[in-house]
């Protein structure tokens, strides 16, 4: 192999850099760092890469966009709006679309990348959640990730409003209404944010500076922390033969991982551009400029805000004869707005932040974890994750109730009643079903590990007994099915138990009581002895019930 130092010029350059920044140490430390591979690890990468696409396309847009609400007369290339009074923000967005070659493409790249950015973040969070990647020592990085998710929503919403079109203007109107509903300070907050009455003349420039400076800067800083902690902790890996809690198995950063991850950046970027090329998004010229009086039917925000909008739609203003907005001493409590607009999202965010510590408290497990959980092996956690997802989807679906109603010719009121019911019933149902599915999958794993694969070959013994021949798994296949630890309950402390201890024990039981114990070598031994029994069956010595009984696995606890 030829050394990099055999070439005189590269040696001089490398030496120059090393003398000044110690590059050789950096290369030695990081260039051969090992990263494990799994498709689900690419979800976070998509988020990172779409963010880069957003920075590039967004910077391009700022060269022409003017964040101003000053009114002007549109004189550009889009004939139907010529002569209309519009804001400069709207006018320049139209100009980017109609008068700058590639401008519409860039706008669509920016918008599609934003939608994918949030989607990738949520998918990445779901992956981290169901595989237990948030466990010690990565709890703090989970928090950083949650902050990134919130910032991504903020980035999306502030950008969504910038074209000052009719659709986004009504979105701002809704936000102003929600802010006004906040007790005591709401009206003041709204007047400070909008610089007076809605819509005022300052909200677009204010959102602009948040959108192009403050929020991206915070995102960049937190992404730095997120990735820094990733490097420090080293990436988690799925359990597999040779992969343990104390090693990382995978490919070195240079060259394989760099080529794959770098290539993936171009793939993500390319797909976003192709989407922008063929699928129109946010045609603001069709919506028209913002005006407080007109509105189109079927108004939806960008998908990631759907859940808040949907929650606002689900909450009734009257529960039969009882109003959800009432007045005490002349002051208004708008629960019809506060509960869905602030309390529900607030609780969701709090639950998200707190979860790693809640689970740690209930499992009593304070060890470091570097092996991911297979989701089926943590039925309660996976169930909670799916329940949360269903909760989210029901609310998001509620924000499309008008479109669903018109498309499927059903009453919008019925649609809303059904979704109101699902809001309460859906998550527990999803939890129960998911947990049962997980337990079932675990039982199947047990069965496979103990008895091997069904071959479909039926053998008849000399005595006329039939049985199917099972092919045992090899040790590598079997390891994936037996490697997990059994969950443990936190018991009540001996002696006097405080109320908190009792709560902890009760919740711990809820989390871990229903479980399938992983197969032990002794059990496998017994199963083999039994399967050998079929051999002996040829001599006419077998228990006819043995097969069905041993196929069950051993489930402990109750709750069926």
């Amino acid at each position: 192999m030829s050394s990099i130092l055999t070439d005189k010029r590269t040696a001089t350059l490398a030496g120059y850099v090393d003398d000044r920044v110690g590059a050789s140490k950096i290369v030695k430390t990081f260039a051969r760092k090992i990263f494990p591979d799994h498709w689900s690890f690419m979800l976070g990468e998509i988020a990172l890469y779409t963010f880069v696409v957003l920075l590039i396309s967004g910077t391009f847009l700022t060269f022409w966009y003017t964040p101003s609400m000053a009114l002007t007369t549109y004189e550009g290339s889009y004939a139907p709006l010529v002569g209309q009074t519009v804001s400069e923000a709207y006018e320049t967005t139209l100009n980017i679309s109609f008068d700058i070659r590639g401008g519409l493409l860039m706008r669509q790249i920016h918008h599609w990348a934003a939608l994918l950015f949030v989607a990738a973040i949520l998918a990445h969070m779901a992956r981290v959640f169901v595989t237990g990647a948030f466990r010690k020592p990565r709890e703090l990085n989970w928090i950083v990730g949650c902050l990134l998710a919130i910032l991504a929503l903020a980035a999306g919403f502030t950008g969504y409003s910038l074209p000052d079109d009719l659709l986004s203007g009504n979105g701002l109107r809704i936000i102003s209404g929600v802010i006004q509903a906040i007790p005591v300070v709401g009206t003041y907050l709204a007047f400070f944010i909008f610089g007076g009455e809605f819509p005022g003349e300052v909200i677009i420039p204010r959102l602009f500076i948040l959108h192009v400076m403050l929020i991206p800067a915070a995102l960049l800083a937190l992404i730095g922390v997120h990735l820094g902690l990733l490097v420090l902790h080293k990436h988690m890996q799925f359990p597999a033969p040779g992969r343990t809690n104390t090693n990382v198995v995978g490919y070195p950063v240079f060259p394989v991982y760099a080529a794959k991850a770098g290539g993936f950046f171009f793939i993500v970027f390319g797909v976003v551009v192709l989407m922008a090329a063929v699928v129109t998004i946010n045609p603001i010229w069709a919506y028209g400029p913002y005006d407080p009086s007109p509105i189109g039917a079927g108004t939806q925000p960008d998908w990631y805000i759907l859940f808040v909008d949907g929650a606002l739609r689900l909450m009734p203003g009257w529960l039969g004869p009882i109003p959800t907005e009432f007045t005490t001493f002349g002051y208004v409590w708008s629960l019809n707005i506060l509960l869905p607009g602030a309390v529900v999202p607030g609780l969701m965010i709090m639950a998200l932040f707190a979860y790693p510590w809640v689970e740690q408290w209930l499992s009593g497990d304070t060890r470091e974890h570097h092996l991911l959980d297979r989701p089926r092996n943590k039925p309660t956690r996976t169930g909670l994750g799916v329940a949360a997802l269903v909760f989210y989807v029901v609310m998001a679906l509620a924000a499309t109730n008008d479109l669903v109603a018109t498309h499927f010719h059903i009453s919008i009121n019925d649609m809303t009643y059904v979704l109101r019911t699902l809001f309460f019933v859906g998550p527990p149902l999803a939890f129960w079903v998911t947990k049962r599915v997980c337990l079932g999958l675990q039982r199947r794993d047990r069965d496979l590990a103990l008895h091997g694969r069904e071959t479909g070959r039926i053998v008849r013994t000399a005595d006329g007994e039939y049985f199917e021949v099972h092919e045992p798994l090899d040790v590598y296949e079997r390891w994936n099915l037996v490697q997990q630890e059994a969950d443990q309950l936190v018991p009540l402390p001996t002696g006097k138990a405080s109320g908190l201890d009792k709560l902890r024990a009760r919740m711990s039981a809820f989390f871990f009581e229903d479980r399938i114990e992983p197969v032990t070598p002794a059990e496998l031994e017994a199963a083999h002895a039994h399967d050998d029994g079929h051999g002996r069956a040829l001599e006419g010595d077998t228990d006819p019930h043995a097969v069905s009984a041993s196929g069950r696995g051993s489930e402990t606890g109750h709750g069926h």
């Binding site: 760092k33 109107r173 610089g195 104390t246 290539g263 551009v273 108004t299 002349g330 008008d402």
Partner: protein, 360 residues
């Protein structure tokens, strides 16, 4: 390169429930009851590893993909210069330009990625390598040293001994953020009473949105809907803000279809003019325009959150998240037969707010 099967055994025994930071080791202490990790399976070689012809083929594929990417860039450039969008201002031309530029650029970028990944997967080494993890925490000794450094530093600074310095610093720092908060005071004016006021007052003509022409009572036929703004809106100092409060819907229905109000509100029974009713168009939920009128049922629907107001019950809420009825604007006709307001809104139009007070 390591590719021999390895099985790492963890020296730290698991202390489930302990306070330490032991690495969780499924193959740890209780091994008698657990399977042992069989280690990495034997490496499987790819055809490109063992067959030079296959490697050569992969090489050609990768370079072809890169060449196709360059073709994409050329398509973009041709599209940019050969397809101007200022000579033909149709949407079709714009879409064509966007599509050609986007497909050219998209494939140019996408194929770079595909080529890189294909190169890595077929020709770069695919031996999985093993790196050991180390405790995140420092050793006990490092922890002790670190805490001593902090303690020594605190001692050297004297911050614990010189309490006057410390307390004066804390006091000064505690009030220092106040200017940062106060500075934001001028973000906006205080609300005052502006949310209660609108351009509607006695004698203001109802005019069409957006052209501002007045409306004769005779023009308002049964079942028709007018989107209304107050006369003089465009000359007001803040027309958009005023419109956000003053927008009104004008609808004519058979007077006998409307249930009369009782009690304190009975005075409103003659706020219409011959079956022509004027209601605030701004939803009492969060302020969207209530723009959809269903002629058959006389329901008004807000398209944002589906609050439904029943015109026959003086715009009472019959479905959705709004709680209050739409405020009614009292109207009559002036000497020339044009519709005018006979007074302001009886209550603040638009969404609720803390200081709004009880509704009628």
């Amino acid at each position: 390169m390591k590719d021999s099967p390895t099985t790492e055994h963890n020296d730290a025994g698991p202390s489930h429930g302990g306070v330490g930071t032991d690495l969780a080791a499924p193959e740890g202490a209780a091994l008698d009851n657990r399977f042992a990790n069989p280690g990495l399976p034997a490496h499987r070689y790819r055809t490109t590893d063992i067959d030079p012809a296959a490697a050569k083929r992969a090489e050609r594929q990768v370079s072809t993909i890169f060449l196709l990417s360059a073709v994409g860039t050329l398509v973009f450039l041709v599209g940019y210069f050969a397809l101007p969008i200022d000579d033909d201002k149709s949407l079709g031309r714009l879409q064509l330009s966007t599509m050609v530029l986007g497909l050219g650029l998209g494939f140019a970028i996408f194929l770079i990625g595909i080529g890189l990944v294909h190169w890595a997967k077929t020709l770069m080494p695919d031996h999985e390598q093993i790196e050991l993890r180390h405790d995140i925490r420092g050793t006990d000794e490092e922890r002790r040293d670190a805490s001593n450094i902090i303690l020594d530093g605190v001692e050297e600074s004297g911050i614990m001994r010189r309490t006057v310095i410390r307390n004066s610093l804390i006091g000064a720092m505690a009030i220092l953020p106040i200017p940062a908060v106060v500075l934001f005071r001028d973000l906006g004016p205080l609300p005052g009473t502006v949310l209660r006021e609108s351009l509607w007052e006695e004698g203001v003509r109802l005019t069409r949105d957006p052209d501002g022409t007045p409306i004769r009572a005779a023009d308002v036929t049964f079942g028709s809907v007018f989107h209304v703004i107050p006369d003089g809106l465009s000359e007001s100092s803040h027309p958009i803000e005023e419109k956000a409060k003053a927008a009104v819907l004008l609808i004519r229905i058979q007077p006998e279809d409307v249930q009369p109000l009782e009690g304190d509100l009975a005075v409103r029974n003659d706020w219409d003019y011959d079956g022509i009713y004027a209601y605030s168009k701004i939803c009492t939920h969060v302020g969207c325009p209530v723009a959809l009128y269903e002629q058959q049922t006389h329901h008004l629907l807000c398209p944002c959150h589906q609050s439904t107001f029943d015109l026959t019950q003086h715009c009472k809420v019959i479905f959705g998240p709004a709680k209050r009825p739409l405020p009614q604007l009292p109207i009559t006709v002036d000497g020339e037969g044009y519709l005018v307001a006979s007074g302001p809104f009886p209550e603040p139009p638009g969404p609720s707010y803390w200081e709004r007070g009880a509704s009628a």
